[in-house]
């Protein structure tokens, strides 16, 4: 059973200057420093300084967790672990390629079935079969991905390795004194990988979280990679793997207006169906959604993808419960 954080705020992408004020305000935090995880941009990049400055302006001391540097120290100290981790990455890469090949065929088949000019009564059973093939590819990949991680953990005795324990104990100490945690955007696979390696989900669970983009995606039950406007052509959405499930009921799609073709209803409907029972939440700069331990809400409404690929805006919704009455924006939003 996943343990969810008591409160969380997910912000829209932060393309210019990072703005944490509204998010911190919405979290209603007690006094205290805020821990910062910036590993998505590598800690040498200026994002850490920007987060520190922004927290300072909000009257908060920043506690950088330096996750990237810590993982570097772990690998320096524990060469066999570094080697096993490298082998894990190779395995995960192979798994992604195999999943990608299977998924490509499944999606192509589903599209072809829908395009055929045949009566619905003949087509629908095949369309359902094709759809189930997509879901099966996703499901199997998520399982295989988790199995590879589990095999790695067990093979190296990850939790008990001194280099890992030392870092985790230090981090747990830092987190115990924090009023909240900020996770920035960046490379979603790196953030997820480092947090899984250090086993930080349990230490994060009691704390309010303020996160955006990649940092927020890893907190959800499932991380979906997507980009319809890559210069080399649209990338078919793929599941990276399970997230940390520290926040429930959502799959996040940051920079939706830039990265998604919001006019392609079929693709959006597929996306919505593939993250079911979680809701696909679209985020753009300036957005803010709030988790209060029971429901997601936003003063400007939460933008969700409906089952038929429309963008609908609801004031709030409770994960797993029938949704609030949607306001349809239209798919071309």
């Amino acid at each position: 059973m996943a343990v969810h954080v008591p409160r969380a705020v997910v912000l829209g992408p932060q393309p210019g200057r990072i703005d944490l004020g509204p998010g911190l305000e919405a979290l209603e935090l007690p006094p205290g420093p805020v821990a910062a995880i910036t590993v998505g941009w590598r800690e040498t990049e200026p994002v850490l300084k920007e987060v520190e400055q922004e927290l300072g302006q909000c009257g908060r001391e920043a506690v950088p967790l330096h996750i990237g540097e810590r993982v570097g120290r772990v690998f320096e100290r524990d060469a066999p672990l570094a080697e096993a981790h490298r082998a894990l990455q190779e395995g995960l890469l192979a798994e992604e390629q195999l999943y990608g090949a299977r998924l490509r065929r499944a999606v192509e088949t589903a599209r072809e079935v829908v395009r055929l000019s045949v009566a619905e009564r003949y087509r629908d059973p095949y369309a359902e079969q094709a759809w189930q093939a997509i879901l099966a590819a996703d499901r199997f990949h998520v399982e295989r991905h988790a199995e590879l991680w589990q095999e790695f953990r067990e093979a190296v005795g990850l939790a008990e390795r001194p280099a890992i324990r030392e870092q985790r104990e230090e981090l747990e100490g830092l987190l115990a004194g924090a009023a909240a945690v900020v996770l920035t955007g960046g490379h979603v696979a790196v953030i997820r990988n480092r947090l899984l390696l250090l086993g930080l989900a349990d230490a994060l669970a009691p704390l309010p979280l303020l996160a955006w983009s990649a940092g927020a995606m890893v907190l959800t039950p499932r991380v979906v990679l997507f980009h319809d406007r890559l210069p080399g052509g649209a990338a078919r959405p793929e599941i990276l793997g399970d997230g940390l499930s520290l926040v429930p009921g959502i799959a996040l799609f940051p920079d939706a207006r830039i990265r998604l073709d919001l006019g392609d209803r079929q693709s959006l409907a597929e996306l919505s169906g593939r993250v079911n029972p979680d809701r696909a939440v679209l985020l753009d700069p300036g957005d803010l959604i709030h988790w209060d331990g029971r429901a997601w809400s936003s003063p400007h409404g939460v933008r969700l993808l409906s089952d038929d690929g429309e963008v609908e805006t609801v004031p709030s919704f409770v994960p797993g419960a029938p949704g609030a009455e949607p306001r349809t924006e239209g798919a071309a939003t």
Binding site: P13, G185, G186, H187, A189, S213, A214, P231, G232, D255
Partner: protein
């Protein structure tokens, strides 16, 4: 969009132009004049005749321009598709003297290995911003290494390492034929800097290789294929941290360079996992001898052999060609065969000619398809 009768040059003709009217016409316009799909080329000067020389396949390579009666103004209107880019010169004939000159009314020029050309940008064409230097973007380094070859002696090769290069990482390798031309005329270093910075391609190492005797080396020469696959790559692997999988190895060529790339892949199937072939000179014959120069006979023989015996020589192949170049026929013919041989193929046609800026402008879509960067893993 203007109807042809509403073109600026037609208005001038209807006005019964005087010298003052021609002066005003020249003053009032940028040249060539773009009006919707119509492009009017204009030359002013004394001449017996003036021709527009260009590389628009399917139309005469030199088109006679029309004189505005009673003036020294010459014009020719062509319909060019949106986003076209045309390189051209005027041939000015004075009596028995004929001279190729740049368009004096157009400051936009381009230099390639064959000289300087005037350039006409059709409606909607903009030089892509990712081909221009950006001070915010870290620059990769170019160093020169010397590669020993049994057939070609010691050859200097320019090697690009990306900004932030670290020796303990391993990088994909891109081998670029006609390397110095790609650097000089296709802004390849800047393009790599920008695409890596945007995460559209991964940080990679690129080796820019330049031939000494281009036709001899590139026209299906087994020694050149051996040089690329054995001597060059082996040497680079000893000096640079290069990934060893074929999928992390790409070969780029344009024109005859594309032939050299495909022939190397043919002779060493699977060695290069990615090929980028721009405007390849894939000349072939369905029957009888080729009408092309005999120097290209090995190319014809190779392409004929390839067409008769399809092989999967790489995993992914990006092919591009300009619609204004005669090679469009050969390239269109090749693409289904590449696909049939079991390779993933992406084919792009551009409203451009057989020139370096065409090949430059296709680098983004080609490289990012062959070597997808981590962009889709980044969420800001």
């Amino acid at each position: 969009m203007s109807a042809a009768s509403e073109l600026a040059i037609q208005e001038l003709l209807l006005s019964g132009p005087t010298g003052d009217a021609v002066d005003a016409f020249i003053e009032a316009h940028d040249f060539p004049i773009r009006e919707g799909p119509h492009t009017t080329f204009v030359y002013r000067g004394e001449a017996t005749s003036v021709l527009l020389g260009h590389w628009l396949f399917g139309t005469a390579a030199a088109r006679e321009m029309e004189r505005v009666p009673g003036s020294n103004l010459w014009f020719l209107t062509l319909d060019l598709p949106a986003e076209s880019r045309v390189e051209y010169r005027f041939q000015r004939v004075r009596g028995t003297d004929a001279e190729w000159i740049l368009d004096p009314l157009n400051e936009r020029t381009v230099r390639d290995p064959f000289g300087v050309w005037s350039v006409c940008h059709g409606e909607g064409y903009r030089r892509p911003e990712w081909t221009e230097e950006d001070p915010q973007v870290g620059r990769g380094e170019l160093t020169v290494t010397h590669v020993r070859s049994r057939a070609f002696g010691t050859r200097p090769v320019s090697v690009y390492t990306p900004s932030g290069f670290r020796n303990r990482r391993r990088y994909p390798l891109l081998v670029v034929l006609d390397g110095e031309d790609y650097l000089r005329h296709a802004a390849c270093r800047t393009v790599l800097d920008n695409l890596i910075h945007r995460r559209e391609i991964p940080p990679l190492i690129a080796a820019f290789v330049t031939p000494a005797k281009r036709i001899r080396e590139y026209a299906d020469n087994p020694a050149h294929a051996e040089f690329l696959t054995s001597e060059l790559v082996s040497h680079l692997q000893t000096e640079f941290p290069i990934r060893l999988r074929p999928d992390d190895r790409g070969l780029v060529g344009a024109g005859l360079g594309a032939v050299a790339a495909l022939t190397a892949a043919w002779r060493y199937p699977g060695f290069f996992g990615k090929l980028l072939l721009s405007s390849g000179s894939f000349t072939f014959t369905d029957a009888g001898p080729s009408t092309r120069t005999a120097l290209l006979d090995p190319v014809v023989d190779f392409v004929n052999a390839y067409r008769a015996d399809l092989r999967r020589v790489s995993r992914r192949v990006f092919v591009s060609c300009g619609i204004y170049e005669p090679l469009i026929y050969e390239n269109r013919s090749l693409v289904p065969l590449l696909r049939e041989s079991g390779m993933e193929v992406r084919y792009v046609e551009a409203p451009d000619g057989h020139n370096w800026e065409n090949w430059r402008d296709r680098l983004r879509v080609g490289l990012s398809w062959l070597f997808p960067g981590p962009l889709w893993l980044y969420y800001r």
